[in-house]
């Protein structure tokens, strides 16, 4: 059972593994639509470095780009972030259920032996 959503979550985690890219994402989350130069002005890096990170984020579909005149404007796409956040919530809930079952089986056994 290989879900496309799960594959995509892997790609999102991969793209976000780089701390500099996470700063780009957080800056985009605050800034709406921006150009690479606009982003570089807010971050301690060159426009070229920003462009490279934006391209990686586009591959993970975390960022969308549209050309207006001669400039490319970038925008964060929240959906993949939601999917990754959903993975975290789902895995957390699964472990909560399993740990609760573990606690029950341990305490049942203990009360039997007393």
């Amino acid at each position: 059972m290989r879900s496309p959503a799960h594959r995509h979550v892997d790609a999102v985690f991969d793209a976000l593994a780089d701390p500099t890219r996470r700063r780009v994402v957080e800056t985009l989350a605050r800034g709406g639509t921006v150009t690479a130069s606009g982003l570089a002005a807010q971050l301690p890096m060159t426009r070229q470095a920003v462009a490279k990170h934006l391209s990686a984020l586009r591959s993970a579909e975390l960022v969308s780009a549209s050309k207006i005149g001669r400039e490319t404007h970038y925008k964060l796409r929240p959906q993949p972030l939601d999917e990754a956040a959903h993975w975290i919530q789902m895995v957390s809930a699964e472990w909560d259920d399993r740990l609760e079952a573990l606690r029950r089986t341990l305490e049942k056994r203990r009360s039997r032996s007393q």
Binding site: R2, H6, A17, A29, L102, T105, L106
Partner: protein, 140 residues
């Protein structure tokens, strides 16, 4: 690893970490975590485990099946393995048992594997907050 001196990750927590307190000794917890029959009482209906480092583990619940390899097997303290569903990315799962007065604390951590994914450790909770904040942010 570079991870430790990386200032950009302000939290060191892994992607998912959960714990529970149980009224049972670390020895009792260890048995429930590492004995096949006991695992089937709480983990999944069908569990196979070769209880040594490097041994195989498989966890099946109906159609849902995951398998992997035992990474750490330190009696009464630490049990870790990798697992994955067919065709999906692997994760690393680690249980630690800590003795408490009158019982134990069991902590489980699940982290997606891959050098890059592990380097991102700690970003899970920030990701949740960011995703949540964006849902309510005005769309530009």
């Amino acid at each position: 690893m570079k991870l430790r001196d990386e200032k950009a990750t302000d939290e060191k927590a892994p992607w998912v970490e959960r714990d529970t307190m149980v009224e049972a000794s670390p020895e009792e917890v260890w048995e429930a975590l590492t004995d096949e029959d006991r695992l089937e009482e709480w983990m999944a209906p069908d569990v196979e485990l070769d209880p040594v480092e490097g041994g195989e583990i498989s966890v099946r619940d109906g159609e849902d099946e995951r398998s992997g390899t035992v990474e750490t097997f330190e009696e009464n303290e630490r049990f870790a393995f990798t697992w994955s569903r067919p065709g999906e990315g692997e994760s690393f799962v680690e249980f630690t048992i800590e003795a408490l007065p009158g019982g134990s604390r069991v902590t489980v951590v699940e982290t997606p594997i891959g050098p890059t994914a592990i380097a991102a450790g700690g970003w899970g909770s920030r990701l949740l907050r960011l995703s949540h904040a964006m849902r309510f942010a005005p769309v530009a």
